[in-house]
């Protein structure tokens, strides 16, 4: 079963990982989440992610 994020913080601290390092990781995560939030498009157009190779093949040039 997946652990909730709050549990992970406690689990890492309990193993002796310094709070400063865990704090850096949390700060990095928040920065990345903000970037992902900014690229969320029109909910009506949102689709399940497909393999990038399908999109790459669609853009494959056959003229060279």
């Amino acid at each position: 079963m997946s652990e909730r994020p709050a549990d992970w913080e406690a689990m890492l601290l309990a193993q002796g990982i310094p709070g400063e390092r865990v704090g850096h990781a949390v700060a990095t995560a928040e920065r990345l989440i903000a970037t992902a939030d900014a690229v969320v498009g029109d909910p009506a157009k949102a689709a399940a992610p497909v393999s990038i190779t399908a999109t790459l093949l669609a853009h494959r040039s056959t003229d060279r």
Binding site: W8, R21, A25, T28, I33, P49, I52, T55
Partner: protein, 469 residues
């Protein structure tokens, strides 16, 4: 025996064909060279002399019996310590994997076996390939053959150092955010990250299933074409692998730059850039124009977000795979690796899926804006000086990897093929490189452009590293 160190694959194949050298001599010479450079560069994880000498003896027997000598016959290679060969140690530069043996041979290693190559051993990597400079607290830092006081780039750091020092003509690396291209660039080599899906990845210890790619680091563009020809192909054990017709990557490689359209992606990629790196790039761009390519500026819309979204995907996928170890053995990771892994634990599924979906949208936008009128896009690789190995490590490791991967990570996000090659030398005697990116599965065109630039700049004829085997 004719010396074979610091020679290209093509040169070594020529010596083998002319009878100047045998497979056994090649294996012995290059095993010794790897052992020799290891004392100053720390490039080697472990050598496999018994296996290599047995393989060499079989190859010599086959050659004596009239077997055809191909471009990779008896090529003395060694690979990043992520590449599995059944029964060999596969430790990925990690304490957590200490003593672990590969259960299967990587598809790529099997492909090179079929092409006749020899496998001499494994080369050092950043822990679990999650770093861009070549540092590893468990195995020690790999050093740059051009100046051992400096990092060689990572995460395929041992591959780059061993090839640049001439101990092997080529090595395989892996590239999730720049891990082939950054060390190849830092060590004055050619490094190729193929289009996602072109080269199978099964048997390579994974970092991020969505973004990992496998490819070569080597001394010449022609050698990259030879290796790609052997490596490209469908891998049924890799869900990202594609079925495509075989391509002869050497067929048009000498056609030159005339008539090609090269877009210079100044926005984002050149901003900011160290002065001497920018100057070397401008000199190379001028030379490309003089060779007959049409050179013009281009813009990749929305590309700035791709770097962070690459980090997000890597961190989430790596932390998912490593969850049991993170829960029980977090102190067995190096601090740099752990901090990046940990970040993935705090990212919700919604953000991860948003990042994956953005790949499709951004790829379509970049294709329309930048590739409708260009055959290839040119960017820098490193935009700032390499670090000294003794430089104290502090601060936020998550942000640092984004800084070093400023020019590389976006093309893992987009899945596009990219090649790096040297274009100048810094005041400190360290190589400066450029990156070319092309359309999906247009590696033949990409390598033609790279070969044209390599010929025009003649870097390898002008400069040599400080440490050679």
């Amino acid at each position: 025996m004719t010396p074979t160190l610091s020679k290209s694959l093509e040169e070594i194949a020529g010596l083998l064909r002319s009878g100047c050298v045998t497979a056994a001599e090649l294996a012995e010479t290059h095993l010794e060279a790897l052992a020799r450079i290891d004392s100053s560069l720390n490039a080697v994880a472990r050598l496999e002399p018994e296996s290599a000498m047995e393989r060499a003896a079989r190859l010599d027997d086959a050659i004596a019996a009239g077997a055809e000598i191909g471009p990779l016959t008896a090529a003395p290679l060694a690979h990043k310590d992520l590449y599995g060969r059944k029964g060999w140690l596969q430790e990925a530069g990690a304490k957590i994997l200490s003593g672990e043996r590969a259960k299967a041979t990587a598809t790529t290693c099997a492909a090179l076996d079929r092409a006749g190559a020899m496998d001499l051993g494994r080369l050092n990597t950043v822990e679990f390939a999650l770093g861009s400079e070549g540092r590893n607290v468990h195995t020690g830092p790999v050093r740059n053959p051009w100046n051992p006081a400096y990092v060689p780039g990572g995460s395929s750091s041992g591959s780059a150092a061993a090839v640049a020092a001439g101990a092997v003509p080529a090595a395989l690396g892996s590239d999730t955010g720049g891990s082939i291209r950054l060390p190849a660039a830092a060590c004055g080599l050619v490094g190729l990250k193929p289009t996602a899906g072109l080269v199978g990845r099964s048997g390579i210890f994974p970092l991020s299933g969505s973004l990992d790619t496998a490819g070569p680091l080597c001394q010449t563009v022609r050698d990259a074409a030879i290796l790609l020809g052997a490596l490209a192909g469908h891998d049924p054990a890799d869900p990202q692998s594609v079925h495509l017709p075989r391509v002869d990557y050497l067929a048009e490689i000498e056609d030159g730059l005339r008539g090609l359209r090269i877009g210079i992606a100044r926005q984002h990629f050149f901003d900011p850039i160290a002065t001497e790196i920018g100057a070397a790039l401008e000199t190379a761009i001028a030379a490309i124009g003089e060779e007959g390519a049409r050179v013009s500026d281009t813009v990749l819309p929305g590309i700035a977000a791709a770097n962070r979204l690459t980090t997000l995907i890597i961190n989430v996928e790596a932390s998912t795979q490593h969850r049991p170890w993170l829960a029980a053995r977090a102190t067995d990771y190096g601090p740099e690796t752990l901090e990046r892994m940990m970040a993935g634990l705090f990212i919700p599924a919604q953000a991860y899926l948003a990042a994956l979906m953005e790949r499709q949208r951004l790829l379509a936008a970049v294709m329309e804006a930048a590739f409708a009128d260009n055959d290839a896009i040119l960017t820098p690789v490193w935009i700032s000086e390499l670090s000294e190995i003794e430089e104290p490590q502090h601060g936020n490791f998550g942000r640092r990897i984004e800084d070093t991967g400023h020019c590389t990570r976006a093309f893992n996000f987009l899945g596009l093929p990219a090649v790096v090659l040297p274009c100048g030398i810094s005041a400190k005697g360290l190589p400066i490189a450029l990156q070319l990116v092309s359309r999906p599965y247009a590696e033949a065109l990409l390598l033609r452009a790279a070969r044209g630039i390599e010929r025009a700049l003649a870097f390898a004829e002008t400069y040599r590293p400080g440490v050679v085997a």
